[in-house]
Symmetry: C2
């Protein structure tokens, strides 16, 4: 037998699947559509494992462990998903349900936390870092000495709902001016209100063409991202903040905005300047397998030591 660790990043529309071989090499990657609701999500997880085995040319019997990253509130110890609104899941014993047909260790983790572990592993330095996810929502996962840092009640890194403007837009959470209202893809698209397939891309393009509202929103995205970086460094003092998530599809245009703002803030405040925040951020490369890899690592933690 050839023990393979599977990692699945379950999103609102697709599952990214990845297989890690015994020598820690990535054996295969694939992507399938997600299901909606409890049963469909469990079925999609099995389909993803099957598709991955087919893509990698290995039998499903070689799968030693499965780790699942999933958006929402997760009880990692119990393998349970408590709220994953984008998947139509309210409360699901996901690990147990998957194990009914696949009797190997199965672990479940919040997708951003899993991606944080994966990003640390890909960097080769997970001593002190945060993974800041600018997706539909905004949240971060903190990794200290290679392990997830959950905090006292599991909310460490929930900086998306720190309010940084008392007169800002109302957030879905009920507060005003949360970081997420500035740089969360969902909130910014709603504020934009002009529809379109890729509203954040439209905002960047139209800002360059002089559209005042687009410019305001684009500046807000950089303000929100910088606020998130400052919060993570001034509170938890992580060495590095790796930024990923759907909004980072904008790549260097987004990174440029964030770096310009961090440098401007550093020039205006010697204190902030001394933090050298611009040297401490990185963008996760497009197509990075961080989230699925992190899920595989979470699953592998359930294996007996000899199989790691």
């Amino acid at each position: 037998m050839n023990p393979i660790r599977v990692g699945l990043d379950v999103g609102g529309t697709k599952i990214e699947a990845l297989a890690v071989g015994p020598d820690d090499a990535i054996l295969a990657r694939t992507r399938i559509p997600t299901g909606w609701g409890d049963d469909a999500v469990v079925t999609a997880v099995h389909d993803a494992v099957d598709a991955l085995a087919a893509a990698g040319g290995f039998p499903v019997a070689d799968v030693a462990s499965v780790g699942i990253g999933i958006p929402g509130l997760v009880d990692a110890a119990g393998g349970r998903v408590l709220h994953a609104v984008n998947l139509g899941v309210t409360e699901l014993d996901l690990a147990d349900a998957v194990q009914e047909r696949l009797p190997v260790p199965v672990a479940v983790e919040n997708d951003v936390k899993a991606a944080a572990l994966g990003a640390g592993s890909l960097r080769g330095d997970a001593h002190s870092m945060a993974y800041l996810n600018l997706g539909t929502g905004v949240a971060a996962g903190i990794v200290i000495d290679g392990a997830l840092w959950r905090g006292a009640r599991g909310t460490a890194g929930e900086i998306g709902h720190l309010s940084v403007d008392p007169r800002g837009r109302v957030c879905g959470c009920g507060q005003r001016g949360c970081i997420e209202t500035f740089c969360g893809g969902g909130a910014v698209s709603r504020a934009w209100g002009r529809g379109g397939e890729l509203p954040i891309l439209d905002i960047f393009d139209l800002a360059e063409q002089g559209d005042a509202f687009a410019r305001e929103l684009r500046e807000g995205i950089a303000y929100g991202a910088c606020s998130a970086v400052r919060s993570l460094v001034l509170s938890a003092d992580v060495e590095t903040v790796v930024i990923g998530g759907g909004v980072t599809a904008l790549g260097d245009r987004l990174l440029g905005d964030i770096l310009r703002r961090l440098r401007q803030e550093g020039a205006e405040s010697p204190f902030i300047g001394s933090m050298r925040l611009d040297e401490r951020i990185e963008l996760l490369p497009a197509g990075s397998p961080a989230a699925a890899l992190g899920a595989a690592l979470v699953g592998a933690q359930r294996l007996p030591a000899g199989l790691l």
Copy 2:
């Protein structure tokens, strides 16, 4: 010999000194004026040890270790003070200088970090907590599993300079709307601008009498303190935030304002409400020896294990 651990909280006007006996009991406490400048600070440290020995009725020869909490930038590993503007100290090898006349282990720590350790020890639970100091400035120390959590570069807990209002007052650090501009005693007194011996007390009193500016500043103090608590819990997720520092001399009037605001924020945001922030804060009692006790603990960490 009767090994005694001394802790000194060196402030801008006074040194609070405390002696801990072999059975961890507080043997003596005293207070003397601080000096200004390198030599005067070193002399005042020795004077404080002498005064403490006199107060406690023990010979200085029984002092086994000295810990010094001091405001400003501290290189704890090197026992050096790098910037303590309120004491006229720019760069001082404080531990070495004190040891010239008192040849015992001497440790130096930032005063807020030392107070965090002391507050944790006094609570009897330092598993996961922050000590939020609302003094002239605003900063926090984070204690995890009984030890200071410094972060990657020693700035963990520096939440005073998180901006929470892009249109707020300019902070001494150069940013706008820092938490410290809302609830730091120095910044609020400057904004008030009417002088007086106890401007924060005046602000609280006049706010109750209907003064509009006093009311705005008083509401700002609660806003700043609540922002600090939210930042500490949503970033580092400490279980408890203990609030101390000069501004807390207002006692229940301040605590009442903070609790009212936290509950209002929790009512407006189910997410924030679920954090139960109002149940996770405590005010350090007036006259608490937390800062000097924490300094004693920092000093004792330099002792050989048998003498702890």
